[in-house]
Amino acid sequence: MNPFGLWARFRARLRGLVHRDGVAGEIREELEFHVRMRAEDYERAGTPGPVAIARARRRFGNLALWQDNGYDVRGGGVMETIVQDLKYGARLLIRQPGFSLIAVLTLALGIGVTTAITSVIDAALLHPLPYARPEELVHLTVAVPRPDRPTPSRYGFSALDVETIRAQSNPPVDIGQWDTADQMIADGPEPERLRGYEIDARYLGLFGVVPHRGRGIQEADTREGASRVVVIGYGYWQRRFGGRDDAIGQQLRLDNENHEIVGVLPPAFYRNTALWLPLKTSSVMFARRGSGVSNYARLRRGLTLDQAANELTGILSNVETAGETMGPGSRVHVETLLARETYGYWTTGNILLGSAGLILLIACVNVAGLLLARGATRMHEIAIRTSIGAGRGRLVRQLLTESLMLAAAGAALGLVLAWWTLDTLVTNIPLPVSTNAPATLNARVLGFSVILTVVTGVLFGLAPALRLSRARVSGALARGSRRTGASLSRRGGNWLIGMEIALALVLITGASLMLKSFSRLMSVDLGFRPDSYVTLQASPAEFQSSVFATYYTNLVDAIRQWPDVEAAGAVNHLPLMGSSSYQQITTDDGKKLSVTVRRTLPGYFEAIGLTPLEGRLPQVSDLTSGRRVAVLNQRAAKRLFPEGRAAGRVITHVKEPTEVIGVVPDLKNLGGNDGSMPSSMREPLELFATYQPAPTDRPEPMVVVVRPKANAAALPERLRQAALAVGPRAIVERVRLGTDWLDATVTTPRRRTVLLSLLGALGLLLTLIGVSGMTAYAVARRTQEIGVRMAFGATAADVVREMVRGAAWPVALGIAAGLGGAWAATRLISTFLFQTRPTDVPAFAVAAGGLAVAALIAVWIPARRAAHVDPVISLRSE
């Protein structure tokens, strides 16, 4: 077909719409032609002009009426019908603002929640890598089978491996290496501690990242003896240099060494990471695998993961690393970055999406119920339309148009809601949303919402539309009664109430389990009391071991003197902080043991609320006694000295004889939620050495721990002041309560619990609105019947009881179905539950009981209102 012809027709149609002619105009033209012809015939037969026209009109009948009827039968063009339906629907929705408001709000909640969660899932799980061809980006390791373990151990490539691969004529991958850098002290007018990464010259190129200013890390920067350079992140550039171009070329003093700033990275690449340093390979580590350096790579175009793994395994099998070749069965493991970034998060994502889907379904059921209830009052109107020739298809289309309008209005409001809550959701959702790929309402998300809206509209609109359009016409017309549809919608309403209750119960049971699990998690005995201490993280600005040593000793000494402080000490790795270091110790009888070592200043144990099981705790005097002393935890003491007392024994630690002066209880250093951690971290053997750094040691920041007396006022602020007052220049990072540390270890479970509880509450709320609304409609239609019964002596209580009893069945069936659904669904969250089985009976009982009571109250309120109307008024209502 000629496209211009099509275009012309389209334009003609549009014009028709605007000028309100089109089909309606055609019909009018046809009918007027008829009348004119008739009039001319009369004139030819001798009737004078005006009379002829009048007679012709009379003979034709009411022109406008026939025109309308003709239109109803013939229907307009598709677009005209739609416009007509839209106008009609809009009028109807505006005429019933209460109904429309509830329906639109309900849908807005459902669509809004689903859209917001979809947006986060899109950013976190579907498109977390905003780079060209992200599917080519992979993470490389060597997988070495372990006979004693089910899964192979994985090691990073050695520098020699990388060099060998790069030397190939057509390497299967382009490798970029990176490692996390230690926090560094950046000196300046306001010194601070910064985080960063060490990267090689290829790393930024893998992602197609072009520096925002200056240059990236180059090959020459990574050689040994190269001058020190640093590339800074966009956020730090803005904060420290105000985004000025002259930052390039300036010297940045990091850990007492000058580094030249050579570049700034763009805002969309880890904007909150301040430092990007050259990754330098030490000659010691050159041929050793598993040094901690990560190898990212981009696959050669068209290569599959398996092909790449095979090729790389072939290349590396000839490389001799640290005296060994790759053992039999060792392979290069190639994993996409996408899989790595999203590993383990899809369960959470699916559960959130599923919960949002349930909310949306409940919203749909709600609106379907309201439509059905309202539809019963529209029987008369529908009957009239049917009798003048509107077909069933035409009616269904009209009713569906109304549903889609509701859905569209709900979606519009829902999008506003999603947009408004998105930031809050992102910061509280247990999914990793990177600053590189922030969650937004982008085209993909909006497209999904549009589909969702249409599906929603059809879902809640179709059943009522089919039901209403099937209704008998003549009966409705004959009786002219509003009540005709009562039985029809009452049965439908009961179904919907049951469905709604079942859906809500699945959500509420999940929430109930999560809450129970979380309260169990929070009541785990950790062995210490996070609620009894305050921590101060500060360090001197001068990066020198001796400065650090005196700084912390003086700081703790000063705080210890405060009258409202019970105890004060310091430790390098606080429990719940999640870092540790291993060292080997030897007993006086030659037994060797690898232990977790923490360094402490006296007062630390008292501050976190420990008392010794044996021996004593370190005193201030131990620092100056010239002897080295240490404390063991119970587990280490038992392992080292199974036969007797540990206190008083001498061990060798970092080549120094050290006296064990006491034994303290074992702690749960990782918090209660440590089930997924390896047992070596969960049940550590611990040595607490006193903090006596040698001048050659790398300066290490300490955490000052303070146990205040009951009424210590403004402690955080005073701690800050003290940290600044003690040293010449100091960096105060933060003051935290012990409970803040505890909270930080349960962030993910808490977020899951809060989110699933909120979704459960939302589901409950929508269900109650739905049940209450449907009951109110049903009751309104039965007003007359209620009046009759009360006139015959039934009391209000009788009527209410009967109403509630009538609703009890659908509620009970809904709860039975919901329990079944929950029983099947809650196993999905079994990995989220702490010491709680997914079929925990009390949690199920609380959810079902609570929902049943709430639902019956939602029925009782409108029923009671109806029963307290004066019977005379009820009888007259109609």
């Binding site: 046809e30 032609f33 008829h34 003979r59 034709f60 009827n69 003709g70 004959a478």
Partner: protein
């Protein structure tokens, strides 16, 4: 059962009008007014109802596929909508004619006996 009866009545009425229109159009395309004039003449104005009622009937038959229509110019140079019998319309006409004849024969034989 008033409902059933009224439905049958209106159906019969529709049926008769439809059959007559189809019959009139069997000889060739006509516009609405011409159809009305022919019907009048053929039925001696027995079926003279409001003329406007012809049009919803035409549209209904068109939507059922018995008729097709298009705008054309009359002998006197005016624009008018012409209706034409489709193949489905001819089949329908034949079927209705047959069933009508069967009915009238039956009724006639009852009345004559």
């Amino acid at each position: 059962m008033p409902k059933k009866a009224s439905k049958t009545n209106s159906d019969q009425l529709h049926g008769a009008l439809d059959m007559l229109v189809l019959k009139v159009l069997a000889d060739g395309p006509l516009h609405g007014y011409a159809i009305a004039v022919r019907l009048e003449r053929l039925t001696n104005e027995i079926l003279a109802v409001e003329e406007g009622s012809l049009y919803p009937a035409l549209y209904r038959m068109e939507s059922r596929g018995w008729l097709s229509s298009e705008w054309a110019v009359t002998d006197t140079g005016r624009r008018a909508r012409f209706y034409r019998l489709t193949r489905a319309g001819r089949t329908q006409l034949a079927a209705e004619t047959e069933s009508w004849q069967r009915l009238t024969t039956a009724v006639a034989s009852v009345l004559e006996s």
